[in-house]
Amino acid sequence: MIGSDKHISTRYLERALVDDLGDAERRLVDQHLATCQDCLQRHESLRFELKALTPHVMSLRPAAPRRSVWAIFGSRWLMPSLAASAALALILVVVHGPEDTLRAKGGEVAPSVLLHRARGSSVVALAANDKIAVGDRIRVSLSPLGSEVVHVLFRDDRGELELFFSGIAKDTPLPGSLEITAPCVPVTLWAWRGGDASLVEQIRAGVPALGQAVTRRLECE
């Protein structure tokens, strides 16, 4: 249960969240979470991610399988945080450019969004007018990173939405890449600070969350 790095394995955190542990295991997990901030953050981030995924997953039953126009390269792995959940209410304004900035209302500069495009063996930073094509992989960086929850979603012009990252972004670039698969469909990136999960549903419904999220439009070549 406790790995060589002295933290709870992901498997046990997941089981704890859905109440799949025996009494003794539950006590061990609770005791560890009471003293380990890292595991507590992972636990809370996982909880948030599952909550965000639930509407989509519930829609699969008994609906026919959906087909996405893209494949997300990688799982979002979340480095969540309890404290984070509390600190979620920063209002952001939209700034356009190669490096879009999440700016707090009070003027405090928050993490920037920087996109890299991997095409073949070349990796370049995406400028504002750069376009995407089938086979490209888009990497997302947020910097500098603090101890706040950040959400990154992609929504294509057909309405397909993918929660790319949700949680405390301790790594930059974020794990995984967005792979553009055929046919190429323009994509909009949405990123915001804070724990307002309702924005996921707003974006899913096509309601722009201007003023609360950074957006970045990626047109096809």
């Binding site: 969240l17 399988p65 959906r66 890299h116 073949g120 790594d171 890449s177």
Partner: protein
Amino acid sequence: MAGVSSKEADEAYRRFAPLVWRRCRSILRSPAGADDCVQDVFMKLMRYGGSYLEAESKVAWLYRTADNSCFDWLRRNRARTVAMSEAELATLGSDHGGAVTRSDQRQWVMGFLHTLNDEMQRIAVHYWIDDMSQAEIAVEIGVSRQTVNARLGQIEQLAKTFSAQSRGGAE
């Protein structure tokens, strides 16, 4: 083999399906593939899931079924699977001025999962997705810890070989 009732399946779906979907997406790196596999897992639960009811850990039962479904999906969709090359992995890390993260390594390994045999696939998933220790993996799949250690070494070597071949084929 008996399955579970509709009511039991509904309860299991509400409680566990998001977790199963997340796992499938981590393994397949494909939301569409995760959609397919989650439906497959709960169909199997309804048809053949009698042992689920007695399972000490429902999550473990569902994960084993999900892993099998994912491995089958990978075999069926081999041509669509695109692996991140070792060179690209290093490039992405250095490009941002940081070391390659464990998460990057996980994506890299999952990119060639379809090339591994069944035992190695299970070890890779437990190690990279579940973050389980070698001792836990040994118990889970019924081999020695030394075997797990050896297989992880082999997986790393295969990853390098596969990456080199992918890169060579792309050029």
